[in-house]
């Protein structure tokens, strides 16, 4: 027998199963659409950011530090300037409360103090259209429109910034190195560096980000100059990067978000893969008689499998092309979805890599996820001609082989996309557990349902429908439950964050933080504050070694989440706070130890394993201070009260440069007058209204939730496609049931009710499973990641379940409606013709 594929046969097989073919194509398209659109969009964003990298950093070399640059480092930069290798500009960024001169009205603003020369690349656009460097001169400031609106000021008015009174000269429209200001706690305010001293805001230990921006005249020397500065022996953590290597805040944020969205994309791919498998299995089941006839006439399994592989490949190719078109179309929609998080003028382009990647993913998905149903064709026996009974597929070694190949592909996709082995493995493990849990729970629930026979007739018939041959009940529930778990979890976590911080800001939690109180201001400040408050000393210092082993800050910063590469806020005291308890050690400090001691908060152990007796070395203002771990503390309450990772014993940090902060709880209406009062007296003290900060946080969370929900929708569509495919696959059985019910005297309403309840059961089981999984998942997220007391939101949860059930009901009944109109006589005639 010829082995060459018969294209007419392949075409005919497709045209005779148009509905299943369409669902198959949609599943293939769906499997790749998220990943390809995200990949393509990500490339566009990255190339845009790279193309405009100089502008996004406003310089060739970006040097940053949390502390003032050491004199010898400054000297090194100055030397480079003198030899005309570079041109440099100092930039200082920090938050401070600014206030109106005549009235008691103040506002937290994000100050950027810049030297002449800034920006070396790009433009700070002003509302007046005038050049930035001409407007920002000593005595004048440039502010964001929001600041004018909130303080009811206008250009030309004066504003008190720290100790200086400056005139508002213009309004900033955009700045090159901050293309997005979604995360700011206050409006931007530009000050000329000449006025820095007059502000008197930069004291010892203040929270200031120090930058030196440099323009390199000979670009060929760029790497060498950066290397030279990077190798400069400095005790401070100075980061030297070029515009090519520096990650802008936007890029860092985008990379993190994309990381998460890629996880969702891979998740969708997996669920769509289940859809592909289940749809092809249904399509092949429809062809069982044809295949049995072919076998009866002597066709070998290889011949049959190769033809149906041809069918799958052709449909897969169409699906891949559809997926590519949709992905690229979607790419145009993504900028508006990400609005606020990315620069507005991102240039979008179709990258050949994205197209190649799309074709590859499409091909692999089709090959891998169709392999099992295709291999199953070997089990079709010629006796299927008689169609008397359902043939059960048996498991061969190939089943495990294909299963293993699918798992490998999934893992490779995860590793390629996520590029982080540990997180990748966690994700694969998590997804695996979720799907297995959904699988086992579904199997158990279905078994329980199968045992029931005391229910009213309609319910019994509906439940029987769930076990109809070819009904992909389990695949539908597993897919929907897994996808819905993600959607429900997002909603529950968002609700918890909202409830904890926004709607009911904890009654006992402080809502107003005063930071950067200088040592000499402490007593006076407390007197001015007029309410009892505890002050906490803060010494800012990085951890440089554990037991003598040096910490590599670059390596640490590469880790996701909190890490040891940053500067910590250290404090000292003799006692435990009310919301702290000792989890290891015999008290906060050991009276029998004579050397300096430090108590470590349990959360630090998540960054690096530490134990009692370990020696921690910090660099405090250039001096290395070592202390032995005397205890490990944990917090007994989750909330917004101040806490410290490292608490030193007395006698170690008292003489180090330090600031103080305090946190109080005030009624909302008292916040503004107190802020004005404090700022008038202590201009250098920053007042942070946490309720305001939480509003910004909530806005970001809401936006992120929308983005994540949007991408998760694709995985839900995979579940719906399986429902539709399942209805098509069981079309004959459903028509048969409909006709038999009618012959036996059932009204259309009865049949409709049976199909509706069947769909409703599918939706309810999926949604309830998803609810259980998401409650557990959200509880873990809230507890572990956000340190929140978890609320289950029963009302919202029930609404989610009901909405899902109704949606599944609509899809299931919608797909079944044409079946209801089938006339008994026509069906009986068809049956007798066969």
């Amino acid at each position: 027998m010829a082995v060459m594929p018969d294209f007419r046969y392949i075409r005919r097989q497709i045209s005779r199963s148009r509905h299943q073919s369409l669902v198959f194509i949609l599943c293939v398209a769906l499997s790749m659409v998220t990943l390809v659109s995200l990949g393509s969009f990500s490339r566009s964003v990255h190339s845009s950011l790279l193309r405009d990298a100089r502008t996004l950093h406003a310089a060739d070399i970006i040097i940053r530090s949390r502390a003032p640059f050491p004199a010898d480092f400054e000297a090194a930069v100055t030397a480079l300037e003198k030899e005309n290798a570079v041109e440099s500009a100092r930039v200082y960024e920090f938050y401070s409360v600014v206030r109106k001169v005549a009235e008691d009205d103040s506002l937290l603003a994000q100050l950027k103090v810049v030297e002449q020369g800034y920006p070396f690349y790009g433009q700070v656009k002003l509302a007046s259209g005038r050049p930035f460097h001409e407007v920002l001169t000593s005595g004048s400031i440039i502010v964001e429109q929001v600041l004018l609106d909130r303080l009811h000021l206008q250009v030309g008015d004066r504003l008190k910034v720290g100790e200086a009174i400056l005139t508002i000269a213009d309004v900033v429209v955009s700045e090159p190195d901050r293309p997005v200001n979604f995360f700011a706690l206050g409006p931007r305010l530009f000050v000329a560096a000449a006025d820095l001293e007059a502000l008197d805001l930069v004291g010892k230990g203040s929270r200031v980000s120090y930058y030196i921006l440099a323009k390199v005249h000979d670009q060929r020397r760029l790497a060498n100059i950066a290397k030279e500065l990077r190798g400069f022996p400095s005790e401070e953590r100075i980061r030297v990067e070029t515009y090519r290597t520096a990650n802008s805040r936007v890029k860092r944020f985008f990379d993190n978000l994309l990381f998460f969205l890629n996880l969702i994309g891979i998740f969708t791919l997996l669920l769509a893969g289940i859809g592909i498998q289940s749809t092809l299995a249904a399509l092949l089941k429809e062809k069982e008689k044809t295949i049995a006839i072919m076998k009866t006439l002597g066709a070998r399994s290889f011949y049959i499998i190769s033809h149906y592989f041809g069918v799958a490949l052709l449909l897969g190719l169409i699906g891949t092309l559809v997926g590519l078109v949709v992905s690229l179309a979607l790419q145009n929609f993504l900028p508006s979805l990400f609005r606020g998080f990315l620069p507005a003028d991102i240039g979008l382009g179709v990258s050949p890599v994205a197209v190649g990647e799309g074709l590859f993913i499409g091909f692999m998905v089709v090959v891998l996820f169709t392999a099992l149903p295709l291999f199953g064709l070997r089990d079709v026996k010629p006796k299927a001609i008689f169609g008397k009974e359902e043939q059960r597929a048996s498991r061969h070694g190939s089943t495990w082989l294909v299963g293993g190949a699918c798992a490998m592909f999934f893992l490779i996709m995860v590793l390629l996309r996520i590029r982080e082995l540990k997180t990748g493995l966690y994700f694969v493990l998590g997804t695996g557990i979720l799907i297995l849990a959904a699988f086992f729970c579904t199997t158990w629930i279905l078994r329980q349902l199968q045992k029931r026979d005391e229910d009213p007739l309609i319910f019994r018939q509906a439940m029987k429908g769930l076990f109809r041959a070819r009904n992909s009940t389990r695949a539908i529930i597993v897919t929907l439950a897994a996808a819905l778990t993600v959607v429900f979890s997002i909603t529950l976590v968002e609700k918890n964050l909202d409830a904890s911080f926004i709607q009911s800001f904890p009654a006992d939690a402080p809502n107003l933080f005063f930071i950067d109180i200088q040592s000499q201001q402490k007593d006076d400040f407390l007197k001015t504050l007029g309410i009892p408050a505890t002050t906490y000393a803060v010494v800012r210092a990085p951890l440089v070694a554990i037991n003598g082993e040096r910490i590599d800050p670059e390596k640490e910063r590469g880790k996701r989440g909190d890490n040891l590469g940053r500067t910590f806020n250290l404090t000292y005291r003799k006692f435990l706070l009310d919301d702290e308890r000792i989890v290891a050690g015999k008290g906060l400090f050991r009276p029998d130890w004579k050397e300096p001691q430090v108590s470590v908060l349990e959360r630090v152990l998540e960054m690096r394993d530490m134990k009692i007796g370990d020696l921690l070395t910090f660099r405090v203002q250039g001096i290395e201070v070592s202390a032995r771990i005397s205890s490990i503390r944990a917090r007994t309450e989750k909330g917004l009260k101040p806490f410290f990772y490292f608490v030193f014993s007395k006698g170690v940090l008292e003489d180090a440069p330090q600031t103080f902060f305090t946190a109080v709880r005030l009624d909302k209406e008292r916040i503004a007058p107190l802020q004005n009062h404090i700022v008038a007296r202590f201009p250098n003290v920053s007042v942070i209204d946490l309720t305001e900060a939480v509003t910004v946080f909530s806005r970001i969370m809401a936006k992120l939730s929308t983005i994540i929900r949007f991408f998760t929708l694709f995985s839900i569509v995979a579940g719906f496609l399986i429902i539709i495919s399942s209805v098509f696959a069981t079309r004959h059985a459903r028509i048969q049931e409909t006709v038999y019910f009618k012959i036996l005297g059932a009204k259309k309403r009865f049949v409709l009710a049976v199909f509706s309840i069947e769909s409703l059961l599918l939706g309810l089981i999926s949604a309830l499973l998803a609810l259980i999984f998401s409650q557990v998942g959200s509880w873990i997220i809230c507890w572990q990641a956000f340190d929140l007391t978890y609320r289950p939101f029963i009302g919202t949860s029930l609404l989610l379940v009901m909405a899902t059930a109704l949606l599944v009901l609509s899809v299931g009944v919608g797909a079944s409606l044409p079946i209801l109109t089938h006339k008994p006589a026509a069906f009986l005639r068809e049956q007798s013709d066969e």
Partner: protein, 226 residues
């Protein structure tokens, strides 16, 4: 009064563009408790006549009356109570609901009629036809004869006034066929149910009180034995 009265029934089908007249001006009446066989060769229109008389299909011309009620133009939902309680059906291909057990198949029409004793009645009927041990078997687990006996029980559970049987022995060997036929006749006599049986088998027709011969969609003889 006739339990069934069909007047001038005409039925046509289109096969592609070709029109085929399957029934041509057929009139037929059945008395209560009568056993009538409609006999004819394959393609003579006998099964089509049965589907029209039982309200499963509509004629292009003519009227059908059941106990004096014109059912010709009734909607599907209006026909449902008739199918449930007045008619019983037995088909050549059994047409048992595959997802229901033998007992559930038999119970189904009674449950639709809200008969609280559906389960007991079904079990009793199945026991009567020798299927007491097979009540929990699914159709694919039953032999042809068992399926047909089960289908007969289902047709009888609501004690219908008319049973429509379309080649009930057509898919059975002679032993099973005879047994099924004996059962149908026994129940017909016992309950005085009108039995309209369609067959091409002269032996089966020989058992009827009245035989209607159909040829090319027309009644050629009506009355007496075959």
């Amino acid at each position: 009064m006739n339990i069934l009265d069909a007047r001038n029934i005409t039925k046509r089908y289109f096969v592609g563009t070709r029109q085929i007249t399957v029934l041509d001006n057929v009139s037929l009446s059945l008395n209560e408790g009568e056993f009538v066989v409609v006999r004819g060769e394959s393609g003579s229109g006998k099964s089509t006549l049965l589907t029209i008389l039982s309200g499963l299909d509509r004629p292009e011309g003519g009227r059908v009356f059941i106990a004096g009620q014109d059912i010709t133009d009734l909607r599907e939902d209006d026909l449902a109570p008739l199918r449930n309680t007045t008619f019983g059906f037995v088909f050549q291909s059994f047409h048992l609901v595959p997802s229901l057990t033998a007992l559930e198949n038999v119970m189904f029409p009674a449950e639709l009629a809200n008969d609280m004793a559906a389960r007991e009645k079904a079990a009793k009927l199945l026991s009567r036809v020798g299927l007491a041990e097979r009540t929990e078997s699914y159709p694919h687990q039953l032999s042809g004869g068992e399926k047909q006996r089960c289908a007969i029980c289902r047709a009888l559970i609501n004690e219908p006034r008319i049973i429509f049987a379309d080649e009930p022995t057509g898919n059975l060997d002679s032993a099973n066929g005879n047994a099924v036929l004996d059962l149908l006749l026994e129940l017909h006599r016992e309950r005085n149910t009108t039995l309209l049986l369609v067959t091409h088998n002269p032996e089966v027709a020989g058992m009827a009180e009245r035989v209607v011969n159909l040829h090319d969609g027309r009644i050629v003889t009506d009355g007496g034995h075959a």
